[in-house]
């Protein structure tokens, strides 16, 4: 018993010392070592406002995080566009170091690759345009949403009618958006959120030093949402 406690204490001390010199934990495939002062291969797919296309290099919340992170590591970024399926497969096989796609912790890929802790918790609300008169409940009202999302389902859950608009807010009196988006448009938040999302970034599975470094960075550098 005493032997167990003493050896555990010694082991923990050894590990803490190794950790202090950044030699513990380690990556089985040495990702962190390759990326530092090297190349960071980032797979991305369009997912506004998280990842937004803009010429050769993506913009948006997640690319901004990646750029800041890469700068910290002294790495140059290689942006790799693709579809989510292909990118996740590549990430799993360590052909990519990082994947940004507006992924949330609900994604079914979480068992296959490493997901970071949520770096932001975003909630979608229904917002009212300034000066718009709104009944206390939204039954039967039309709410504008962006296409290609499941917000129509959540809007219908509130007994409202979803309307897909190409450009939000498009002057519509009622619009669904993240709270910072509503603020930017000058819209007033109404009631409880339609939907809550925990956003994560994805890394290859088992590359623990890499994941720890990224998560520490995300923890200490909150995302720029506006």
């Amino acid at each position: 018993m005493k032997l167990l406690l003493i050896s555990s204490a010694l082991l923990l001390s050894l590990l803490s010392w190794l950790a202090g010199t950044h030699r513990y934990p380690r990556d089985p495939a040495h990702t962190l070592v390759h990326v530092r002062h090297g190349t960071l291969r980032v797979g991305y797919t369009v997912a506004p406002p998280w990842v937004v296309p803009a010429g050769a290099q993506p913009q948006g919340i997640e690319p901004a995080l990646v750029r800041a992170f890469a700068q910290r590591l002294g790495a140059r970024i290689e942006w790799v566009p693709g579809t989510e399926q292909h990118l996740y497969e590549a990430l799993k096989q360590r052909e990519l170091d990082l994947l940004i796609a507006g992924t949330t912790d609900e994604s079914p890929w979480k068992e296959q690759v490493g997901f970071t802790r949520a770096y932001v918790q975003a909630a979608v609300y229904v917002g009212a345009a300034p000066g718009a008169r709104t009944a206390p409940d939204l039954t039967g009202q039309r709410v504008a949403i962006a296409g290609g999302t499941d917000l129509g389902h959540y809007v219908r859950q509130r007994e409202s009618v979803p309307v897909v608009l190409a450009q939000l807010p498009g002057g519509h009196p009622l619009v669904a958006g993240y709270d910072w988006q509503l603020r930017r448009w000058g819209y007033r938040r109404l009631g409880k959120p339609l939907k809550q999302e925990n956003h994560v970034l994805a890394v290859p599975p088992g590359e623990n030093a890499w994941q720890l470094t990224l998560e520490t960075f995300l923890y200490q550098h909150p995302a720029q949402l506006d």
Binding site: S8, Y24, D27, V113, G206, N208, Q211, Y219
Partner: protein, 317 residues
Amino acid sequence: MPHPKSQQLPPELAPTLAKARKLEWLTLAYQASVVVVMYLSLGQSQAMKTAWADDLLGMIAPTSFLLAAHFEQRGATHRFPYGYHRAATVGFLAAAATLLTIGTLLFIDGVQKLLSGERASIGMVPVFGHPVWAGYLMLLALLWSTVPANLLGRAKQPVAKQLHDKVLFADADTNRVDWQMGVASMLGIVGIGFGWWWADASVGILLSASIISDGYHNLRHAVADLLSQRPKALGQGSDEEDPLVQQLCDLLTGLDWVRAARLRLRAEGHVLYGEAFIVPRTTENLLPHLQQATAAAHRLHWRIRDLVLTVVDELPE
């Protein structure tokens, strides 16, 4: 008439039983805390998942003991004239089934993970605002699941011997030696940190093998009990006969009116039931002789509960 049946333990053992119950309640409370702590630090690790399942299953034994102790206190009823002494056997059987099933599932799971090269991602958790590798928390959780268990096991073992309680003894033994599994899990997590991703599934496989082995031992106990095997001495995997059997035999053959005697006993929980076949030298004073012999046999040890003496002209095989 045979010695009046009292289905409770002798009064001098009442405090021991009370102590045993207290220790097992304490064990349950502790194990519940371990299950919670382990669940919170699980992550994706196969080793942790298997260790957590092992801890969950570890709650079966104390529960078994407490339930069996409760039922045994009831004594014989009209419906159950032999009392509830075999309540513990039911516990062993239920434990065996659960352990074998879950152990096997986890074994297959571990092998699958190892063969497919699945790697556990262990990242960061904030601890009081500081970023800490989650693996360290897993190690602490494992330490909590190991050290107190060993101490509890050591406290329970002498109590189990005094009560001659198989369930309590098996439970205490498991607690006492579980530290080996705890150490294996910790080494597994440390190994993952060094980049040896296969350490995770390997430890998971090892732990699940241990669960299967536990299940097998429980099954052996249960089957042996159900098939009314000869009473065995207390001890994990012990194949020695219970020394009380020989003592009883010596007592009976030592009586001057007895030419030869043979016992046929079975263990029901703590106590021994059975028959003694006696070939007498003379049938004079047979009834008082039988009464005295029965009384003496029951006085020998509290564990001799219901011995029926019968006179024969030839000992059975």
